[in-house]
């Protein structure tokens, strides 16, 4: 199969003044893949992710997201992706249903679509009775699961997850990953960053960024073999220790 990669980058670079935050990274992600995007603090992950989401213009290099160009078609990109992070997710002072309505509205979904899908979503999360509760009153783990559901509500092709499980308890963390798997099985591509090394194992492939470059990219098993390491933790430590720069 010669299916076009859903994320494609070639020598993608971002410079701020004389500081090269992202240094000519090239990689591809296939449709339906769970792609782990790792790196130490300040390695350039956030900057790279911003370019891929169409939030920041690259300095040079090429990239297409779902077939759309990151220079010219950022509006198209935004229609086709979902985004969720630990820091920014839902409005705490709106109810669950209001949040869903709001986000679905941004993507121009029809009322019928929103109604059906909301019912379905609440059922999946066992929240049928709680649709009118304020999001602020939910426990963190549930909030994060809800935020994920909202991020994929408009059926995007790719969803970007920036440390989605930070501080979440181990049981909920796994439930969260279960949702990721289900979304991936349904054909949504997952692009995820995390500080939990066990979660890196759940990804199909992982890239590790060091000093703005992608230093390694392989399956978890492949990486462990290449670096002769027992755990992903070891692989990460070996690579990240090479870093010479620190984040500003």
């Amino acid at each position: 199969m010669t299916e076009q990669p859903i994320i494609y980058t070639e020598h993608l670079t971002k410079r701020f003044g004389d500081f090269t935050a992202v240094d000519a990274i090239s990689f591809e992600v296939q449709k339906g893949e769970i792609f782990g995007f790792l790196g130490a603090n300040g390695a350039g992950k956030t900057t790279a992710m911003r370019m891929l989401c169409g939030l920041s213009l690259p300095t040079s290099g090429k990239a297409t997201i779902a077939g759309f160009d990151v220079y010219k078609q950022t509006e198209k990109i935004k229609q086709n992706i979902g985004y969720m992070s630990q820091k920014f997710s839902l409005y705490e002072d709106l109810t669950i249903k209001e949040n869903i309505r709001f986000y679905a509205g941004i993507y121009g979904k029809s009322d019928a679509f929103i109604k059906d899908k909301t019912a379905q979503l609440l059922q999946q999360l066992n929240l049928e009775a709680e649709g009118d509760k304020l999001v602020g009153s939910l426990p963190l783990g549930l909030k994060q699961k809800l935020a994920f559901s909202v991020a994929v509500f408009h059926e995007p092709q790719i969803v970007f997850l920036d440390e989605p499980t930070g501080g979440v308890d181990p049981v909920t963390r796994r439930e969260f990953w279960n949702m990721i798997y289900e979304a991936a099985t349904a054909g949504i591509t997952i692009f995820v960053t995390t500080h939990y090394m066990d979660e890196a194992e759940y990804c199909n492939r992982i890239s590790i960024m060091v000093d703005g470059k992608i230093e390694a990219l392989d399956t978890p098993a492949g990486l462990k073999e290449t670096y002769n390491a027992a755990t992903m933790d070891d692989v990460f430590l070996q690579l990240a220790r090479k870093a010479t720069r620190s984040d500003a």
Binding site: L140, G166, V168, D169, R174, W177, M197, E201, A240
Partner: protein, 308 residues
């Protein structure tokens, strides 16, 4: 006398009409010179406990002493002798590394030179950047500076609230190495973290969830009290394997764990039974072996018990 003695501590917050029970009757003791970890996810009540022990919050009921001083009555005495690093980065961003350190030394009525030996190992790592503003440091270096500032007056007890949250694996490891060194210098350290794997680096830990301590002990004790067999299983199709395992009535629980799935077996069932079951469901190639539980396994089991 314990360095920290906590007895039935309770803290509630009002949020609109609802009352949030952040800490629901927590008790534990920390011996002198111990490195004690409070492990739990966000919202477990860790920060509330730290704030009560550092006299920033008043408990609703129960009490505690720090180095023999009562957290309510003797709050001024406690403020003289503890070091505290709150969860958020708590230095002056527009002051340089050096200025921050000297400022903290002065307000604790000491000088940088007086206790330099204590912070020397950590400070030499950030000394090359001493004229840089704290706001311009990397996450790992900020953390080191914050630790230096919290140590500068040679505190009897050091409170570190989630020092490693949001920090990458390399910096986390370095930070824990520093803590172990400090412990050898006789400082009692209380540290909180949401990362289960950091539990094994503490002398003793309390596992917390939803305002309650589920268990307290050394990491070994907690692991030994885990009373089931755990098997680690791996196959080509991990997601399918998990579905199959979850349908099996011979198990208590099954969940992913790094590159393996961990399967908690009911009594009487072992590896052999599992191999047969998996063969019958199309996973004959599965790699199965027994593992020792980790703190994370224990934490999850304790959580399930609470659900029941």
């Amino acid at each position: 006398m314990s360095a920290v003695a906590v007895h039935n501590l309770v803290k509630q917050y009002k949020s609109g009409k609802a009352i949030i029970e952040a800490v629901q009757g927590v008790s534990f003791d920390v011996a002198r010179g111990e490195l004690f970890g409070i492990i739990g996810p966000d919202g477990a009540g860790k920060t509330s406990i730290f704030r009560m022990l550092t006299t920033l919050l008043l408990p609703d009921s129960g009490g505690a002493t720090v180095d023999g001083s009562d957290i309510v009555k003797d709050y001024q005495a406690i403020r003289q002798k503890v070091g505290y690093m709150p969860g958020r980065f708590s230095l002056y961003q527009d002051l340089t590394v050096e200025e921050n350190l000297h400022f903290f030394a002065t307000i604790f009525k000491t000088s940088v030179t007086e206790n330099y030996t204590l912070i020397k190992d950590i400070y030499v790592q950030i000394e090359p950047f001493k004229t840089r503003k704290a706001g311009k440091l990397s996450g790992g270096m900020k953390q080191k500076l914050a630790l230096c500032c919290a140590l500068i007056h040679k505190p009897v007890v050091l409170f570190l609230d989630e020092p490693t949250t949001g920090v990458d694996a390399v910096s986390r490891k370095e930070f824990w190495d520093m803590l172990r060194n400090l412990r050898q210098q006789g400082i009692t350290i209380l540290v909180s973290t949401p990362y289960m794997d950091e539990a094994s680096l503490c002398d003793r830990v309390a596992l917390m969830q939803k305002g309650k301590i589920m268990t307290t002990g050394t990491p070994q004790q907690i692991i030994q009290s885990f009373n089931h067999n755990i098997l680690a299983v791996k196959a080509q199709n991990m997601y399918g394997l998990l579905q199959v395992l979850k349908q099996w009535n011979a198990i208590e629980d099954a969940y992913s764990f790094g590159e393996y799935h961990h399967v908690i077996m009911k009594e009487r069932y072992d590896k052999k039974v599992m191999r047969q079951y998996l063969a019958s469901t199309g996973y004959a190639d599965a790699d199965i072996h027994a593992v020792t539980p980790t703190i994370e396994d224990c934490f999850m089991q304790l959580m399930q018990h609470k659900h029941d």
